[in-house]
Structures are given as structure tokens and as C-alpha cells.
């Protein structure tokens, strides 16, 4: 028992900031295998009795894509200057948005969904966060495959740009996770938080450049200043198809803001588990 000592006290852990940060980093290192097992368990049980598994997840956005493609062809709306075939534009938009919303919702609900585990086993909180990232990364593989397929069919694939896209792609998952874990402790107490996020995610798809570009003159364009999807999502799409980036300054500002939200959210998440485990 030499050297090993663990103290659980009533004192607030927030007073020991550097100690908590060290624990968070250690937790992240220790959690890789636990998170892998948690994600694997979720994936296996989700597709346990399904013959088509992930196909259902892909079908939903593709149906929406087909509808918007038909509407675009019928000139019901103008997608703006998109620099690529609309089919490619809309598939990238919808699938990237689906990845973002999946990462956000899984993170918001992670504490509540893991309540049984949290009241019975001592887990590093980071294992839950990493498990969400692994799980979204797994489903993203299939979504990226569909994006590549559409890029090839539409002759809109830049090989160099696509490598950059793959390197930057985790940003869209991390954006969802950053927002999600910030809200997760509050959702552990009041389930209204996740419901609110679900409600917000529906209109957010239409005020972000998912299905069409927001006209520069539109009042919605002001909203894009505060909407990280307004830069991250179109830039990922542009990278993969044209090896280009737009609004770099604003993109970096959005990434910085998300990094701050994510780090603060992680700190809160780490401290809140022993306080909220029984209430989740």
C-alpha cells in the first residue's frame, strides 16, 4: 500500500485546480481502453438485432438529401455560389451536420445514460467523454465513405484537400462534444436541457450552411458570426472538394471559442460526477 493514497472529502475539489487538471489528464490517459469497451458495448448492443445496422443511420440523411436535391432542381430555392455539384454539397452538409448533432446529443445525455454505471463503479469521467468520441468516430467512417462516393460520382474530390479534410474532420465531432459536455451536468438534473438541445438542432440545420449557403445580405448572416457551424462545416466541405478554405479568421475564432467551452465543460463535468451521480 506504500505510496497509494486516495482521499474523498466534503471539501470542494475546485479549490485544488492544478490537482484536478492533473487528474483530468491522467483520467484521459487511463480511459482509452475503458472508453473503447464502452463504445464497443454501445455499438454492439445497438446493432445486435439489426440486419442492416448502420444503413438505417445513413438512409435518413440521404432521403432528406434527395428531397432537397429535387427542390433545388425545381428551383424552389437558390443554394448560392457553391463551387461543386449540389448533390455533393447537400450530402456533405447533411452528413457533417448529422455527425455534429449526434456528438452533441450523445454528450449532453452521457451522464444520464450512464447513471447505472456511475452509481456502481468508479469510472474516470473522461471515459464517458472519450466513449462518445469513439462512438461518433465509428459511425463517421460510414458517413465519410458516402461523402467520398458522392465526390467521385460528382467529380468533386481534391485528393490533397481530402487528406486535409480528414485531418480537420475531428473538429466537427469535438465541436459537438464541447457543447454537449458543457451541458451534460445540467441535463443530469433536469432532462429539459437535452429536450431543448433537440429542439434547437432542428432550426439550426436551416440557419447554418447545411442545405444551402446563407445569403451574405440576409439577417441570418449575422447569426453565423456566433454559429461555429457557419465556418467549420462549409470549410470541411470546401477542403474535401476544392482544397480551399474561406473566412479563416472567423473559423479560428470559432475553434478557439469552442476550445474554451470544451475545456471549461470538461472541468465542470469532471467535478460534477460525484456530486450528481445519484441524481442523474
Amino acid at each position: 500500500m506504500a505510496g497509494f493514497i486516495q482521499i474523498y472529502s466534503a471539501e470542494s475539489r475546485a479549490l485544488h485546480f492544478s490537482e484536478v487538471v492533473r487528474e483530468m489528464i491522467q483520467g484521459l490517459r487511463r480511459s482509452r481502453y475503458i472508453a473503447y469497451r464502452l463504445a464497443l458495448k454501445d455499438i454492439k448492443s445497438e446493432y445486435a438485432k439489426s440486419a442492416f445496422g448502420i444503413v438505417w443511420d445513413l438512409l435518413d440523411p440521404l432521403v432528406l438529401g434527395i428531397v432537397f436535391y429535387a427542390l433545388w432542381q425545381a428551383k424552389v430555392f437558390n443554394a448560392g455560389e457553391i463551387h461543386m455539384p449540389y448533390a455533393v454539397f447537400v450530402v456533405y452538409g447533411i452528413l457533417l451536420y448529422q455527425i455534429f448533432s449526434e456528438a452533441t446529443l450523445l454528450s449532453v445525455e452521457v451522464m444520464h445514460r450512464s447513471q447505472n454505471l456511475l452509481t456502481q463503479l468508479k469510472l474516470p469521467p473522461e471515459a464517458l467523454i472519450l466513449s462518445v468520441i469513439y462512438r461518433v468516430a465509428f459511425s463517421s467512417i460510414f458517413r465519410i465513405a458516402v461523402m467520398v462516393l458522392f465526390s467521385l460520382l460528382g467529380s468533386a474530390l481534391s485528393p490533397v484537400g481530402f487528406i486535409k479534410f480528414l485531418l480537420c474532420f475531428p473538429l466537427i465531432i469535438l465541436a459537438g462534444v464541447a457543447i454537449g459536455i458543457f451541458l451534460a451536468p445540467f441535463n443530469a438534473i433536469y432532462r429539459d436541457v437535452a429536450r431543448f438541445v433537440r429542439v434547437i438542432l432542428v432550426p439550426l440545420r436551416y440557419v447554418s450552411p447545411v442545405l444551402f449557403l446563407i445569403p451574405k445580405t440576409s439577417i441570418l448572416n449575422i447569426l453565423l458570426l456566433f454559429n461555429p457551424l457557419g465556418t467549420i462545416l462549409p470549410n470541411l466541405r470546401l477542403l474535401a472538394t476544392n482544397n480551399a478554405v474561406a473566412d479563416l479568421g472567423l473559423t479560428l475564432a470559432h475553434c478557439g471559442a469552442l476550445a474554451i467551452i470544451g475545456l471549461v465543460g470538461w472541468f465542470i463535468f469532471h467535478l460534477s460526477i460525484p456530486v450528481l451521480a445519484e441524481r442523474a
Binding site: 474523498y8 456502481q120 469510472l123 456530486v275
Partner: protein, 432 residues
């Protein structure tokens, strides 16, 4: 030598009201984030689930937490595992700790037993290679060689419990926290767990055990802490703690019995055609109210000559019953069944075998059963009187609930024989 576990003045409060429980959760979260000191002051609807509890455990010692349901044992165990945060005090653990709060924690019904072993072990902090190295041991202990690749939902509850216990105890912690797992699974499994815990204890593992099995507590633990409504009532040698706890239970049960109003005698009912009695399900079998033409039977218990509902084991007992048959019934049989309070039938004293009621068809009937040495183990019992005739059941009801109090020594099992223990031909103990 330093204690391996120290619990210092630990308290934890909860709210009885779900809404305020959530509201306080938000406040507690902000207090934690803003570095504010927690207060032990009780807010509306709050109570102390654990109240100022302290104890220490030496390395290799086995310590029991005993007490009724809701006394704070599991809350204390969860705080010791860091699952929930105390509102006051501190807990110091000087060694890697493993907790067994629930045997199926982390298991998934859709996965195979093997997948679940890897999942569960990973959640308890084990890597893939480490788990692989002890996988055979785990499967062997759980006796699931043939089924380890079958889906977990096809396992019986006993198989699930065996696998859960097997994973947890093969992780070789220095401190093991166990919450009432001996109540799960069949007798053979319970014995196996018990032997494994003995082996761990011999290997120097410190164990904190929450258990309602007092026999096991005395056999396995050096010390015990009795909690009642979150407060320490006794801590010290396990046997003394269990005795103190059982005495308290007996006193509480006696008090409850004393508060029960005496059953007034039912008025004699007028003769009427017989109707089928209505059946009620109970822990003691089917119960029936008296049919028309039979008065409600009255029973009284005399212990050592005095009417009593609580008497020490080995008392001389007289059970007296009486009722009236207001019309003719044929082939009567009266049975007095004694049940333990959990529904186990201890004995049935029947008139049927020897045809003891031959010739009795009508009128008042009084019976007495004399038991010179009542040797059922201390505990709570119910006396059920059943009356039948050739056509079926006339009446079957719980007529009295009584307690057998402990005598001089401890007793386990169902009976407490009067016996003499000899070693090398010399009497070393006489019970009672």
C-alpha cells in the same frame, strides 16, 4: 501500523422529495464549482442518511456494516468508493480499492459472457492483456466454461451473479468493498463466495462487507459497525455488534407486538347454509375466513404459564385454541401450522393422522398443545390455524404472531437444539 481505511466523521444528507432533491443538486453543483464549503444544515425535506460516522480498518482486517434497510450502509460504502461525495468528513484509502455494489454492473444483455467479462474488467480498471491473463480463472470460478460465448440474456440470475462476482474478486485489490452480494444466487454460490472471501482475507485483502447474514458476519469479520438511521449504534467485535443489533431488533419487535390491539372475540353467528369461503393468497399459503356455522377461532399462547407473544427459546409453551361449531360438521381436522415470518413452514401439528377428533361434530371445541421445550431458533413466527371437514376448508387464518427471543448463546439455522458438546470426552458446552 496505519489504518488502510479511515472514515472520519462522515455525513451525507438526502432529500425525501424528488423535486427538491434535484433543486438541491443544482445548488450543490454550483457550491462545488465555486469552491464553497458544504453545509450540514438540513434544508426542507432533507435528512441525514449517514450521520457523523467514524471508524478505521487495519490492513487485512474484515469489517462488517450491519443494520436495517435504509440505515445508510450502502450510502457509506458508495462514499468509500468515491461514487458519491460526503457532505462532511473525509475518507482515506491507502490501497487500490475495488467495490462490488452490484454484481451485474457494466454487463450488457445483448453481449456474450466473454464480451461482458472484458467490459466489466475494463470498467474496474483492467487492461485487455491483464484481463486475458486471468480470463480462464474467471470463467473457471464462475463455472461457465460451456456458456461463456452465449449471449448474456440467456444466463440465469445465478450464472450472472457468479460471473459478476468472479470478475470482481479476480482483480486483486487491496481493499474490497462488498454490498450484500451474499443474498444473490443459490446456496452453493453463496458458499463459494464466502470461501473466496476467506481466501482473500488470508491473502491480506482488507474487506468491508455489508450483509444481513449475521452468521456470515460473525464467521468472516473481526469487527462490525451497526448503523441505525445513519448513526453509529455500536462498533467493535463482530459478535458483540451482531448481538447488540439483534437485541435491538427483538426489542423493537416486542414493542410492535405490545402495541397491537387484542383481537376481540367475534360474536357467534347464526346458523345458515354453508357458503364457500373466499380465498386470500398470503406468504403462509391460502387463507380463508370462517364459513357460516363456525365462530372465529381464538388462540392464546402461554409461555411458562403466562400469556405471552415473546418468550425465550426453550420455554415451555402451551398453545390453546377454541371455537364453536354451530351446526354439524363431519370428519373434522384441525392443523396448527407454525411459519417463520419469511413464509417458511416450520412444522404442522395436525389431528388428521391419528384421527384425534373422532366423534366431534358440533358444539364448543377447545384444544391445547403442550410443548415442553420450544426449540425453534430466535426470530419471528406466525401461527396459522386451519379447520377442515370432509367437504373442504372451513377456515384458515393467521391467528397470532409471536417472537422467540435469543437465549444465552448465539444460534444459527432453523432450530436451537438442547445439547451437550463434549471434546475429548469432557463437556465443554451445554446448550442452553
Amino acid at each position: 501500523m496505519d489504518a488502510i481505511v479511515e472514515v472520519r466523521r462522515v455525513s451525507k444528507k438526502y432529500s425525501r422529495n424528488e423535486n427538491s432533491h434535484l433543486g438541491y443538486g443544482i445548488r450543490d453543483l454550483f457550491d462545488e464549482l465555486l469552491g464553497r464549503k458544504r453545509s450540514l444544515e438540513l434544508r426542507k425535506d432533507e435528512f441525514l442518511a449517514v450521520n457523523d460516522v467514524s471508524f478505521a480498518i487495519a490492513p487485512g482486517e474484515t469489517y462488517a456494516l450491519i443494520g436495517r434497510n435504509g440505515s445508510g450502509k450502502t450510502t457509506l460504502l458508495k462514499m468509500m468508493n468515491g461514487l458519491i461525495k460526503p457532505d462532511a468528513g473525509a475518507i482515506v484509502l491507502r490501497g487500490p480499492t475495488q467495490a462490488l455494489i452490484n454484481l451485474g454492473a457494466g454487463f450488457n444483455a445483448d453481449l456474450t459472457g466473454r464480451d461482458n467479462v472484458f467490459n466489466s474488467a475494463s470498467l474496474m480498471g483492467m487492461g485487455r492483456r491483464e484481463t486475458e491473463s486471468i480470463l480462464d480463472e474467471i470463467v473457471d470460478f464462475a463455472e461457465l466454461e460451456e456458456f461463456i460465448d452465449s449471449p448474456f440474456h440467456t444466463y440465469s440470475s445465478g450464472m450472472k451473479a457468479r460471473l459478476g462476482f468472479s470478475v470482481a474478486v479476480h482483480l486483486k485489490p487491496e481493499i474490497l468493498l462488498i454490498d450484500e452480494i451474499l443474498a444473490v444466487g443459490d446456496f452453493a454460490f453463496q458458499n463459494k463466495c464466502f470461501l473466496k472471501m476467506h481466501a482473500l482475507k488470508k491473502a491480506g485483502v482488507s474487506i468491508v462487507l455489508v450483509s444481513h447474514s449475521h452468521t456470515r458476519v460473525i464467521q468472516l469479520c473481526e469487527k462490525a459497525l451497526w448503523l441505525h438511521r445513519g448513526q453509529t449504534m455500536f462498533q467493535g467485535p463482530a459478535k458483540e455488534a451482531v448481538q447488540a443489533y439483534l437485541s435491538h431488533l427483538e426489542a423493537a419487535e416486542q414493542e410492535k407486538l405490545a402495541r397491537q390491539p387484542a383481537r376481540p372475540a367475534e360474536p357467534v353467528e347464526a346458523q345458515a347454509p354453508r357458503k364457500l369461503p373466499e380465498k386470500r393468497k398470503s406468504l403462509y399459503g391460502d387463507l380463508y375466513d370462517p364459513v357460516d356455522g363456525l365462530t372465529t377461532p381464538q388462540v392464546c399462547l402461554l409461555a411458562d404459564g403466562e400469556e405471552s407473544l415473546a418468550f425465550p427459546v426453550h420455554s415451555e409453551i402451551l398453545i390453546r385454541y377454541e371455537f364453536s361449531l354451530q351446526r354439524e360438521f363431519h370428519d373434522l381436522d384441525i392443523s396448527l401450522d407454525i411459519y417463520r415470518r419469511d413464509g417458511r413452514l416450520m412444522t404442522s401439528l395436525s389431528t388428521a393422522d391419528r384421527n384425534l377428533l373422532q366423534g366431534m361434530h358440533q358444539g364448543a371445541l377447545r384444544g391445547e398443545i403442550h410443548i415442553a421445550d420450544f426449540d425453534m431458533a430466535p426470530g419471528s413466527y406466525a401461527l396459522v390455524l386451519g379447520i377442515r371437514d370432509a367437504a373442504g376448508c372451513l377456515c384458515r387464518n393467521v391467528l397470532v404472531e409471536f417472537m422467540v427471543l435469543s437465549g444465552a448463546g448465539m444460534s444459527w439455522g432453523l432450530l436451537d437444539f438442547r445439547y451437550e458438546y463434549r471434546i475429548q470426552g469432557e463437556t465443554v458446552w451445554t446448550n442452553p
